[in-house]
């Protein structure tokens, strides 16, 4: 197992390197001059040149890339071009809201979606099945921001159950934190639930056709036990995989949700930075999200071996 871990971690290096190269090239080879942004409306060409020089933007691209990578390896992600803050501070400052919302969304989705999927698979072809499937297809079909607005109108404005927007750290005021994460988490979860419920259903249907399920029935076990003890765990691997790949979807959704609910998280930071051409921040953020994605999927790979003893690395 440790060897497997080491190997997987090593395998993540080329992945992240690809991401790094890709992002770097994308940012440098396309128009958008951070110097012009910093200089502002009144800047003269000389001022622009000077700013470019101080930012190192006048160096050959290879040199810029090298410097950047070496700095990162030293733990230095640079300084924001716009706000002049260390990127690391910016990111750690904005990380927690996103992490909390992400975790709550995943927990929520799993708790809701898995039973939904199980029910649909078990009652395959019945109206429950159709209902669940319709719901999950709908979850895919409505843009996140529309879901968000709808939830706000309904639960925050009409019913006055939750605040409209904002974020409070749980350490500061847990009640307020809890009240404020409900709507964004549900908004985000709508896609995720759809994804997981569908996968659970499909995977469970596959498993229900397996010989060992027939064996379990032949043993005279109750349907419930057959479903939850025998079928579900065997169906878990593809579901976990979907949770992992769906994570990318989650990150995308976060960008929108954070705007709609005014949550000062990473998603907004990324969008703002892209629009502001704040290169060091964009680079760090995309690398970070890619890193998180890789890590999550690594964890999920590891979880396979707990779910299914046949999988050993």
């Amino acid at each position: 197992m440790p060897i497997f871990l080491v190997r997987r971690f090593l395998a993540a290096i080329p992945v992240l390197l690809t991401v790094a190269v890709f992002v770097f090239l994308l940012l440098r080879l396309t128009p958008g001059d951070p110097a012009a942004i910093i200089a502002g409306d009144m800047a003269t060409p000389e001022q622009l040149e000077r700013i470019r020089a101080t930012l190192g933007l006048d160096q050959p691209i290879i040199v810029q890339f090298g410097t950047w990578i070496v700095d990162i390896l030293r733990g230095d992600f640079g300084t924001s071009l716009i706000s002049r803050q260390p990127v690391l501070n910016l990111v750690t400052d904005r990380m927690w809201p996103t992490i909390w919302i992400g975790l709550i969304t995943i927990a929520l989705s799993v708790i809701i979606a898995v039973p939904m999927g199980v029910l649909a698979a078990w009652k395959q072809g019945s109206w429950i099945d159709h209902l669940v499937m319709t719901f999950s297809v709908l979850g895919f079909s409505v843009p996140v921001f529309v879901t968000g607005y709808l939830l706000i109108t309904l639960f925050a404005l009409d019913l006055q159950l939750f605040p409209v927007q904002g974020y409070t750290p749980p350490s500061q005021d847990f009640g307020s934190f809890a009240a404020r994460v409900v709507l964004p988490s549900f908004t985000l979860a709508s896609i995720y639930i759809a994804l997981i419920a569908r996968m659970t259903r499909a995977s469970l249907l596959n498993v229900l056709g397996e010989d060992y399920v027939r064996t379990a029935r032949a043993k005279g076990l109750t349907e419930r036990r057959v479903l939850f003890r025998h079928a579900l765990r065997n169906a878990a691997v593809p579901v976990m995989t979907v949770i992992g790949t769906g994570f990318a979807l989650l990150i995308s959704g976060v960008v929108v949700t954070e705007s709609v609910f005014n949550i000062p998280g990473l998603g907004r930071l990324t969008v703002d930075s892209i629009f502001a051409r704040d290169y060091p921040v964009i680079q760090a953020l995309i690398l970070l999200t890619a890193g998180i994605y890789v890590l999550v999927n690594l964890l999920i790979d590891i979880s396979y071996s707990f779910l299914d003893p046949r999988i050993r690395y």
């Binding site: 009144m42 706000s83 706000i152």
Partner: protein, 501 residues
Amino acid sequence: QTITAVMHSGLRVLDPVITTAHITRDNASMIFDTLVSLNSDFEVVPQMAEYEVSEDGLTYTFTLRDGLTWHDGGEVTPADCIASMKRWMERDGGGQMIADKMESLEATGDNSFELVLTEPFPYTLTAMAKVSGLALFMMPERIASTPSDQAIEELIGSGPFKFVQEEFQPGVRVVFEKFEDYVVTPEPADWFSGAKEVLVDRVEWVTMPDAQTAINALVNGEIDYMESVPVDLLPLLETVEGVETQVLNDLGSVTIGRMNFLHPPFDDPQIRRAAMMALNQEDVLTALIGNPEYYQVCGAIFGCGTPYEFTDGSETLTTGDGVEQATQLLEESDYDGTPIVLMQPTDVVTLTAQPIVAAQALRNVGFNVDMQPMDWQTLVTRRASQAAPSDGGWNIFFTNWVVPEVSNPLANVMLNGRGDEAWFGWPTDEEMNQMLADFGAAEDEETRKSLAEQMQAHVMENVNYVHLGQYFSPAAWRSDVLSGVETAPFPVFWGVSKDEG
């Protein structure tokens, strides 16, 4: 007591000398104070310092008021002010003009200093008191000695509010605390002048990327103040009890179009005129604002409601009947149908409508329009390119200014006609340059007014830029808890009290 306010954009750049971004200026005006200020009659009045101008108009003496301290406890000295002025002069247009004519800038005592010019420049005090763009804020010497192309790291001022560095989240949240040792001037508050008396403990600025969310938050009482409400959404607030909406910045903003003088077809004044005549303010403003209460069709390039309000030559813009003439002008011109590259920003709400309306209007009179959508930063980068439109350059774009930024000919960057050194679009306009120089040197207001009127006519003739009208953004606040919200060209939080009902 804490006022929570939603501002028009997120604060990212802190140094008010580096950028002209309004939010940076707004932020700085909370923290820093100015030597002299402008009141609502556009008069320069003393703020941190009393001043005297010598008979010959060459020597300006400033005497600091007693007991001024910095937020870190230090005393405000002439050296601090001199350093702040020098740094500002390197960046600001008006400042540069002063610097060009400056003989010396030296301390003359413990609390006084002197600015000596080589020739009279009556515009000096106005430039120092200006409230827009790069305003002249006083900072401690150690901070003000930062090179002017490098951003300052610390925000220590002598203004009514202290900046709370630990709680600052770029682009998201700015927190101010009342500065207890602030010395309130005796005169009553008027715009940026007079008593900046802070009546609350804290002010928090939050940024909401979504106006809808901000309004909902205001309705739900989660925030106290919203700097600018999209006019279309005002009906949402009208019926809400305890929320008041009003235009606080009653000068408003102008929206303009700027053409590229370097490349065909707009290197030809006749075609520029055709383009201008094709446009009409009413259409642009309706699309941009909608409710006529919040815009004003106004032919004056220096803004309506300002001292230099002249409307010569603007009839087609204000009446909208220039289409035929424009069509004819264009037909008679050498325009060969090359598509004109119109840059359209997609992510700035206040700039999306103009290109769309303009494109239709230009097509109407026979232009071939290539509308290129891009985000604002791409536009900002691209408008700096002097390349041909087909090689990544451009022909026309639109932007907005607040009225104080255009109301004074010397502050209005679009008038500058020094070719490559001019603002994007790079007109070479000797005539205009001369008028500007004369304006700066003019001794009396009458001369200045007549020069301003000539400039108005010249701009309409030469189409240095297209003035597309004036508009006003209403602010909204919880009138059930806030009192003392006053009009000013940018949001002020002194004099506002909060009653935690």
